[in-house]
Symmetry: C2
Subunit: 534 residues, 2 copies
Amino acid sequence: MFEPEGFWRDLVAFTWNIKTCEGRAEIKAMLAARLADVRPRNFQAKSAEWFTFETALGRGIGHLRLREDRCWTLLTTLQELKGHEEKAGPNRLKLPVPRAQGLGIAEQPYVLIIGGGQGGIALAARLRRLGVPALVVEKNERAGDSWRKRYKSLCLHDPVWYDHMPYIPFPSHWPVFSPKDKIADWLEMYTRVMELDYWTSTLCKRARFSEAANEWEVLVMRDGEPHTLRPTHLVLATGMSGFPQVPQVPGADTFVGRIVHSSRYGAGAEWEGKQCIVVGSGTSAHDICADLVESGAASVTMIQRAPTIVAKSETLMDLAWGPLYSEEALARGITTELADLSVASVPFKVLPELQRPIYAEMGKRDAELYSGLEKAGFQYHFGEDGSGIHSLYLRRGAGYYIETGASQMIIERRIKVRNASVHSVDQRKVRLSDGSELAADLVVFATGYGSMSQWAEQLISKEVADRVGKVWGLGSDTKADPGPWQGELRNMWKPTQQANLWFHGGNLMQSRHYSLYLALQLKARFERLRTPVY
Amino acid sequence: MFEPEGFWRDLVAFTWNIKTCEGRAEIKAMLAARLADVRPRNFQAKSAEWFTFETALGRGIGHLRLREDRCWTLLTTLQELKGHEEKAGPNRLKLPVPRAQGLGIAEQPYVLIIGGGQGGIALAARLRRLGVPALVVEKNERAGDSWRKRYKSLCLHDPVWYDHMPYIPFPSHWPVFSPKDKIADWLEMYTRVMELDYWTSTLCKRARFSEAANEWEVLVMRDGEPHTLRPTHLVLATGMSGFPQVPQVPGADTFVGRIVHSSRYGAGAEWEGKQCIVVGSGTSAHDICADLVESGAASVTMIQRAPTIVAKSETLMDLAWGPLYSEEALARGITTELADLSVASVPFKVLPELQRPIYAEMGKRDAELYSGLEKAGFQYHFGEDGSGIHSLYLRRGAGYYIETGASQMIIERRIKVRNASVHSVDQRKVRLSDGSELAADLVVFATGYGSMSQWAEQLISKEVADRVGKVWGLGSDTKADPGPWQGELRNMWKPTQQANLWFHGGNLMQSRHYSLYLALQLKARFERLRTPVY
């Protein structure tokens, strides 16, 4: 049935895991191990490619891609557990079940989610609808602050159709690119109307797993007071971009201007007439440079340390997002859910070859942009293997910019570019690796964020972090994503080497879609179903 | 084309009014007056009954009901103004237009909406999407307080499918019957994410229209400080149930217990072991009686002054709402918008004859309930002409109860019923019109609310209120709705005898649906389109 190089990607339905089997041998081995237990049945075609099915425990949706009458790619996804469906739609309750009082105080949550950004919130919403007691702890004062507190000019660079939360889509007048505060307010409203158990101003200090008790002991500071929680499961949803990475620069203590990480950059107004340096060339670096230019900084210089993918927003929309996430897609019946499943149906191994033609076309269509950047000394590329932003995001979560204005400023030399790194800082000057010096009042390190595994190390222990290993990345053997090849994102939304520890995160689309599979895995455990992990 | 007794109901599309023409002569007269101006065209059938069309200025949806090949009922509705469409869906903006700062201070609103309940909020949301500067003033501290501050046990008696706000439907797990606080929180979130200009803690004191300036001068107290607003249009959205009606009872000053209007009744807990009297037999009276019984009051007596319509919630859902507002209806493709238009397609003249069979069937199906109520001394009926709740609501907005438990308590004598009125009060006793006396610690007057025209009198002047006349009611020549027959609700959502004064309100369904037509009338005036009112 499968072609020799065929793929079977399973999201929890067959494997109680997130797993791609590559080639006939792996597929055969998985089936041998799991078929008797899963007992798949009742396959019903819904279209040429889509089908529904049941397993012993659940109901699923699948997708099949044929090539010369043989199966090239197969996707199977668990959508709900029989007898444990969400109480929604025709299944909704007449009157609400009164909300449990005092979760985390009178009663312990089954799941504790560290981090109340879009990821933690989406997961908590799904768990709430599934009736799993879950508590979110968020260090900021208000839900949405992880967006609200970022630099003033921040807008989403992904279009609105890609960004919905589960259950309550943005209303139809929502702009294509939402400003950060609009997203922040939406998240705050969402925690409220979804009636999530959500503690603000609560910082997680330490978590220890007790094998004996099969539960975590988690110390949090809530409004400054210590409080111990004892959840069965712990989910780190602390953000792909939660752990600021600031290089140690010699002489920083002598600098009389200001040095900040991009996560602490506020608004450009106070830098009017000042000389500003932004280290890095990803999204934040571009946004901050543009904000400084618009605020009237005397000079803005971007220190580019490595080639960066640049893609025009319109072109990306047209070639990459549009077929799945757009008004046109909706008009063709491609709902957000169907779009998410379509994306999931492409095995990660196959993704680069499907993405490369998009970027080849982009290079032609936007030739003017790229030649302009080149002349301005900006080093652009389409990724090591030409497979673009989506691949790069899966490999390392950074290293690109979706052009919404800053590239044009580079072309017009309103943002100057230097290909170098920072060697040292001295009083009012920044010395670059090429030996040159720049006067500076402000140095912004838009140098990205550490891995989510750093959170595991900080909150749990180095031993656990080491045992779990790298989080995120595919093992593509490209920069910052060493091999061996994994076939899936490492440790994301699936069981890890530490019992009852889970990682959740990513962009709004991933938070929305994968929170479903993580929620179902947690629900199954809450209901004490058998969940043998393949 | 029309049968002699045919109806043409127009919502703003042909008449710049809300108007039902009854019979060939009225229809002919309307067409003679309006056809040349409206220039209807491009009629396209969408199904056997539904069609779309255009006018010189807008686009509309219509509905046609044939009887023996002749038109029995025709509905025409304006849905949008050409060139002034909402910026939504395929039409949405890339980036949001920055929200105007200081509406009501730096800049005057074009529309001032007095009252920020569901009605004011729905209208403000539509005006915001249409780009009409509108300000809502609400006397309470928080949006939603008009629900939040009601008695603790209050739940909607209308099912969820009937209750959506425009643009952001409730998520699919919303219970069939929402508790008041859930609605309150939803409204508060809604004002926020729809970015409405909404002043809380703002009480309107006085409004005067200046013919010369063609604007209102409105004095409000905002957080206790006087502030003058100068809007062009004034909308009273102060609530069908905004003006508590408390009968003057002799001896009230001697009463040593507590006398409250239902709008000020809080929770039953403090009346445990006490003797309680509730005057009235509508929804609030039933709810409050049930709350007192459940809170352990020593005795609860309902003073029924007149026969009341009672209908079981399930039966009403099954026979009346279900075909249009339910999961089954949604599965048949009847969206909320289509359901609203379907309701609107029935001329008010025809409504009673369509409703009567429902209540005849209800009487049979729930015979046990009704015989039980009769034995308990409760006077029920299905309206003066047997046409039930929907008709009664349009005639006088009160006088019914949707059974969700209190009727059963009456049958079980846990709520006692007396057919009488209150003659006087004395120390700890209530004397009834039949001469009997009841001991009482608490007397709740669930005696309803005054007309919206009382707001016009209080805020503007008696002269304006008299000129405008009665608000609400059809002229059905039944109790509290004197003739002559109007064919539409008096003064609701349409031009009144006072220039630039509008009334908005009703239940959640009416607030949702009719806010569209009121918003389009205001938008047309804002854009200085010709709006000759027929």
